[in-house]
C-alpha cells in the first residue's frame, strides 16, 4: 500500500499554474527528497498533502484513504517551513508545544494527561533537549526551536513525516545530528519521510528517492538513476548534472 498516492494533481494561485498534473506514489519506508528550484512548487505540494492548499483537480490518497475521508492525523508528523512564524511572545514552554503534537491522537475533549507528559519527556530526550522542557519556546535559539518543532512532529509516533526545509536554521554540526536522527527514524522505525529541500546536491546523501519538480515532475527515482539519466542530462545540461552528482559524491 502506498503511504502517499497523488494522481493528476493541479493547483492554481489565481491564473498562475503552481502544480501541473503531478502524479507519484510514496511507499512505506521510503525517504523521498523533494527538490527543485525556487518557485518550483515544493512547499505547495507538501502543503497540499496536508490539506493546507486548495487543489484545482486530481486526487490525494493518504494511507490508502481518499483525502476527504482521511482522519488518522496521528499517523502524520509535520515540520513547517517557517517555524519562526509563531508569535515569539507566546508564553508556551517547549514541553507545552511538543504536547500539541499529541492532539491528533485525541478525541473531544482533548486533554493532555500524565501518560502524555511521559511521552513528551521521552520525545524531548530523543532529540537531546529535555533540559529545555520548561523554557519558553520564544526564548530559544533557532536550532533549539527547530528541534522542539521536530519533537512536536514526532511525539505522536507518526508513520509519515513531512519536513519542509528543516535544516535552514541549523548550523552545520546541528544539521548533521538532525539528519542522522531523521535517518535513524527512517531505518529503525520505518518512518516514511518526505523532505523538502532546495539542496539537490546533498539530498541523495540522506534520501533513497529523489523527486525533482518544476511545477511538474521532472524526475522521480533513485539518485543513482538521476545521475545516469540521459533525460536529466538533457534537462539540466550534462555539466550541471555532473556538478550535482559530484557534489553528492563528495558528501
Amino acid at each position: 500500500m502506498s503511504i502517499v498516492s497523488i494522481k493528476n494533481l493541479n493547483i492554481n494561485f489565481g491564473s498562475l499554474d503552481v502544480i501541473h498534473n503531478i502524479s507519484f506514489d510514496v511507499d512505506e519506508g521510503d525517504y523521498v527528497g523533494l527538490t527543485g528550484a525556487n518557485g518550483a512548487g515544493k512547499t505547495t505540494l507538501l502543503r497540499a498533502v496536508l490539506g493546507l492548499e486548495k487543489i484545482k483537480s486530481g486526487s490525494i490518497k493518504l494511507f490508502g484513504t481518499e483525502f476527504n475521508n482521511f482522519s488518522n492525523w496521528q499517523n502524520i508528523g509535520y515540520l513547517p517551513q517557517n517555524i519562526s512564524s509563531f508569535n515569539p511572545l507566546f508564553p508556551a514552554t517547549a514541553g507545552e508545544v511538543v504536547g500539541l503534537g499529541l492532539l491528533s491522537q485525541k478525541k473531544f475533549p482533548r486533554i493532555i494527561n500524565r501518560r502524555d507528559h511521559e511521552k513528551i519527556l521521552n520525545t524531548l530526550k530523543m532529540f537531546g533537549i529535555e533540559n529545555l522542557k520548561d523554557r519558553p519556546v520564544g526564548e530559544l535559539s533557532g536550532g533549539q526551536q527547530q528541534r522542539v518543532f521536530l519533537a512536536r512532529a514526532m511525539v505522536s509516533e507518526p508513520k509519515l513525516l513531512l519536513l519542509d526545509e528543516p535544516s535552514t536554521a541549523l548550523d552545520p554540526a546541528t544539521r548533521e545530528i538532525f539528519f542522522e536522527t531523521i535517518g535513524k527514524l527512517n531505518k529503525a522505525k520505518k518512518v516514511t519521510i518526505i523532505l523538502v529541500t532546495h539542496d539537490v546536491g546533498s539530498v541523495g546523501h540522506y534520501a533513497n528517492r529523489l523527486l525533482y519538480i518544476d511545477k511538474r515532475v521532472i524526475f522521480y527515482g533513485k539518485f543513482s538513476d538521476f545521475c545516469s539519466s540521459a533525460d536529466m542530462s538533457s534537462y539540466f545540461g550534462s555539466s550541471s548534472q555532473h556538478i550535482i552528482c559530484h557534489q553528492h559524491d563528495k558528501i
Binding site: 496536508l50 490539506g51 493546507l52 482522519s71 492525523w73 502524520i76 509535520y78 513547517p80 512564524s85 509563531f86 508569535n87 511572545l89 507566546f90 508564553p91 508556551a92 514552554t93 507545552e96 508545544v97 504536547g99 500539541l100 503534537g101 492532539l103 491528533s104 485525541k106 473531544f108 475533549p109 482533548r110 486533554i111 493532555i112 520548561d134 523554557r135 519558553p136 512536536r152
Partner: protein, 269 residues
Amino acid sequence: MTLFSFLQFAFIQKALIAGIFIGLLCSVLGLFLVLRRLSLIGDGLSHISFGAVALGLFFGFYPIYVAIPVVILGSLVILKISEKAKVYGDTAIGIVSAFGISGGIILASLSHGFNVDLFSYLFGNILSISTSEMILSIILSAMVILVILFFFYDLFSVSFEEEYAKTTGIKTNAINTLLVILAAVTVVLAIRIVGIMLISSMLILPAATALQIAKSFKGALLVSALIACFSVIFGIIISFLLDLPAGATIVLLGGLIFIAAFAYRKIFS
C-alpha cells in the same frame, strides 16, 4: 464602621460575586484574543453592543437580552468579512463596529427619551447590579468558562499556530467561530461591570500583564485570572470607599498593575 464592614451590604456582595465571575471570564478569553492579535475585537464588539443596547431600549426590551444575539451576529459577520472579503481582521472589525455606533446614535436621536439609560450602559455600574443580573452573569460566565475548558487545547493549538493545528485534525474554522461567539457573550456580560467604553480593557489588561511575567501558557492563564480577580475586588472596594465610578476604578487598577509588571520585567529580566 470596621475595615470590612462594607461587605455586609448586599449590593457590594452582588457586585463582588458577579465581578469575579466576569473578570475570570474576561481574563481567560482575553489571553486567547491577545495572543491571536484579536485584542481589538473587544472594542468592535462593544461598539456593536452600543447599537444593540440602543435597539433594546428603543423597543422597550431588556437591553442585555437584545445585545447577546445581536453582538454574536456581529462577531460572526466580522469573521466572515475577514475570511471572504479581501481585508484584514482589524478592517472587518472597523466596518462592523461603524454600523453599531451609527445605528445606536440614530436610535438615541429618534427616541428623545432613553439617553440617560444609554449612558448608564456606556459607563457601567456594577454596584447597581440586580440579583437576576448577578445570577445571569454567573450562569453565562460559568457556561463560557466550561466551554473554554472543554476546548482548551484546541484553542491553545489554534492560537499558537493555526495551520499546524489543522494538520492535527482540529477544525480550525469551527474553533475560530467558537472564539468570536465566546468573545461576543463575554463583551455583553462585561457591559454591566465597566460599561461599553471600557470593555476591551477588561479583556486586554489582565492578559497583557500576564504576558509580561508568565513563562508558560498555563502560568499566563493563572496570572491573568488572578490579576482580573484582584482588579475587580480591590477596584470595587476602592470605588466604594472613595466614592469613585466602579468600572473606571477597576480598569485603572488593572492599568497600574500592567505598568508594575512591565517595570518588573524590565528590571529583573
